[in-house]
Point group: C2
Chain length 423, copies 2
């Protein structure tokens, strides 16, 4: 993998040029893209021209190449949103986040594969660790492109579990910030109360560096080692759906953090959070029936069966049911804020298991939906593996609006696990 | 003006056809559009074909024609967002609200004039009551089209005062619902925490009918006369910027409501709401610099001087200042919710005066910004006029999420003022 922070430091020190980084990316793409299938569009030559601009090397992102999930609008790449019927679409404007990346001196190298409209129908991407396994979704291409060393930074989005789950399956750091920390303007909407833009990079310091550079916020965690956090281990009411390997990964992370000085406490989530787990689907589906109204009303037969079925059923969710789910959300957020007065972050699985042996499904988002609905920052910590060598991700959930705290807690656990200690 | 509710009832009763309503609209457009300039695009023939579909007359909106502000994406009309450089743009999808209108049996007759990117640079629209006066903005064409009898329903949006102010200036009912009651998906973003889609129609019952039909929510207020509300008269800290005529209009509305049985109490807004008034600009401008990043970075010289200046300055707002404004917002919303425990709705001006004698400006949004930031439902009540016969609008502000209550209070005041009593 390409470690964004190291690359940026070497460019800053004059030891490396953006053009040389691009050459490394191009070589990785030449070697692996035919198998991995991370991209829907690529323009290495345009990126090389941009890398010649002396201004990029001194900008916050140092001219690093970035992969952008193909549900974000770009004027210079076709934006198909993972559909056949929007293929070749050229938006009038770049998504706000894309413009922010360009402003920060990032170079958009290409568009990465998304599932259909960021839902469940898989694209062509395969897991770089084993091509018979899913890379996860919906930000399949972004996670895989980072894991395969084709880009140091990639953009994704999460409505259910579309950042944290593919990050976990592909063994990279994933960061779903607090709701609306990164703008979703110009990103194809699935659910306006849930859609959250996020980032992928090799390790926690790298994804924090990228987030800091793009937002001009104090989010980096690569200075002094973070103070030991108070960690709440939340096994959740669906713990029985986690594999033995995943349960072991959470225990390993908890014990390593404890050994490194963290205060680690087991916690039962209040029952309103179980209600919120169910409310997620109501909010998502009610809003999707409206957000994707054009696609459903005009291209229903071209949609995959899962999304078509979701929207068929969603047509029957009435406003009272939706409003009730929104009220549960509000109460659950308050209960979670109360719970987190006793801790800096929650430690919980990123996914039920390592990436399933299938390309027909991108795997379940059951360990992600609740946190997306809560709007809290989430970080996938890479570094652990199962008996087959496939990545196992554990997740840090921080307090809403305390994104740096979440990243610092994740960095602490990552260091405790011995991952990327030298960054 | 065309009263949407009356038209819908007559269509429902078989006394009128959608095609006949379209003929009425077409006649008003032929008579007045050259002077008023409400539309950027019109397709009366396509609307006539759609009106022949027997399904529309039985759908909730009964085949009524709708004007849509040209910051909402439409596949069948060019969508220029009030700019030169996006002129002729054809989006890939309809905005969610446009699809919802079509689903409800509304017929999109055309796109209406918006100021540049829904900010302050005026379009071609003139006030139907006096063409030397502004129609207000940014939803200039939508308000004017309803006022001139060219459509019974129109869609607009408000980030500062872009629904309530033009409704007041043009003498029509305007409804800015609670934040996110109507989706903004596919609506050009200026500020993601502020942008709110809204509706225009002849009177309060009409705009409530349209909102109910589009959302399938219990929002209609045309049944029994509403119960007398507890009204809080908020003159606000900028009362000295209201004209004598506007002050008189608020007093007239308060006394009429009281005479009709309402409990009317003067109220001073807590000082945190003054802070929130200032915070509005910080939130708006910080977000606009990112939401409009593509336009600013690529078309800065084609922007009008006011928006260019706003974005130039907004580049210097840092994250800490923005976060502080967001925290003020949160505290102000709580203070407002506490205040409104003693009342069903606030009565306050919709604008400082009647429409100014100018086409160079769309007038000030100072009586609107706070309520947009609060996310509360707002209704402009038409019916009063100044000494020159120009409309004066008074505003009802309801509790967040209690949109029907706001509409009912507005209907009560409208009835007390003797406007549209027979509806």
């Amino acid at each position: 993998m390409l470690a964004a922070l190291d690359l940026a430091r070497r460019i800053e020190a004059g030891e490396l040029t953006p053009a040389a980084v691009l050459d490394t990316c191009a070589a990785a793409i030449a070697a692996r893209e035919s198998e991995v299938g991370a991209f829907t569009a690529l323009d290495i030559e345009a990126a090389r021209r941009r890398a010649q601009d002396p201004a990029v090397a001194t900008a916050p992102l140092r001219g690093l190449p970035v992969g952008v999930k193909d549900i974000l609008d770009t004027v210079d790449f076709p934006t198909g949103y993972g559909t056949t019927f929007h293929a070749g679409h050229r938006p009038a404007s770049d998504a706000a986040l894309v413009s922010m990346i360009r402003r920060a001196g990032g170079i958009v190298l290409g568009k990465t594969v998304t599932t259909e409209l960021a839902h469940l129908r898989p694209g062509k991407t395969r897991n770089p660790h084993n091509p018979a396994h899913t890379p996860g979704g919906s930000s399949s291409g972004s996670a895989a492109a980072v894991a395969a060393g084709m880009v140091p930074i990639a953009v994704g989005s999460q409505t259910g579990g579309s950042v944290i789950r593919p990050a976990a399956y592909c063994g990279v750091a994933g960061f779903k910030p607090s709701y609306k920390l990164l703008p979703t303007v110009g990103m194809k909407c699935f659910s306006w109360h849930l859609d959250t833009a996020g980032l992928f990079a090799a390790g926690v310091v790298d994804v924090a560096f990228a987030a800091a550079a793009i937002t001009a916020r104090d989010l980096r965690v690569d200075g002094e080692a973070p103070a030991p956090p108070r960690l709440l281990v939340a096994r959740t009411h669906i713990w029985n759906q986690a594999s033995d390997a995943m349960r072991g990964a959470v225990e390993t992370a908890a014990r390593a953090a404890e050994a490194a000085g963290a205060k680690v406490t087991d916690v039962d989530l209040p029952s309103i959070l179980e209600d919120a787990f169910d409310a997620h689907g109501t909010v998502q589906d009610y809003e999707a029936y409206r957000a994707l109204a054009f696609e459903y009303d005009n291209h229903r037969d071209q949609l995959g069966p899962l999304l078509r079925g979701l929207l068929d059923a969603a047509a029957n969710i009435d406003a009272a049911t939706y409003d009730a789910a929104r009220r549960i959300t509000k109460r659950a957020r308050q209960a979670l804020a109360d719970l987190m007065k006793d801790g800096d972050a929650i430690l919980t699985p990123s996914a039920p298991s390592a990436a399933p042996h299938s390309l027909a499904s991108t795997g379940p988002a059951i360990f992600n939906r609740l946190w997306t609905l809560m709007g809290t920052p989430c970080v996938n910590i890479p570094g652990l593996t199962d008996a087959d060598g496939l990545p196992l991700g554990v997740q840090i959930v921080g307090r809403f609006g305390h994104d740096r705290g979440a990243l610092a807690a994740a960095r602490f656990v990552e260091l405790a696990l011995g991952s990327r200690p030298g960054a």
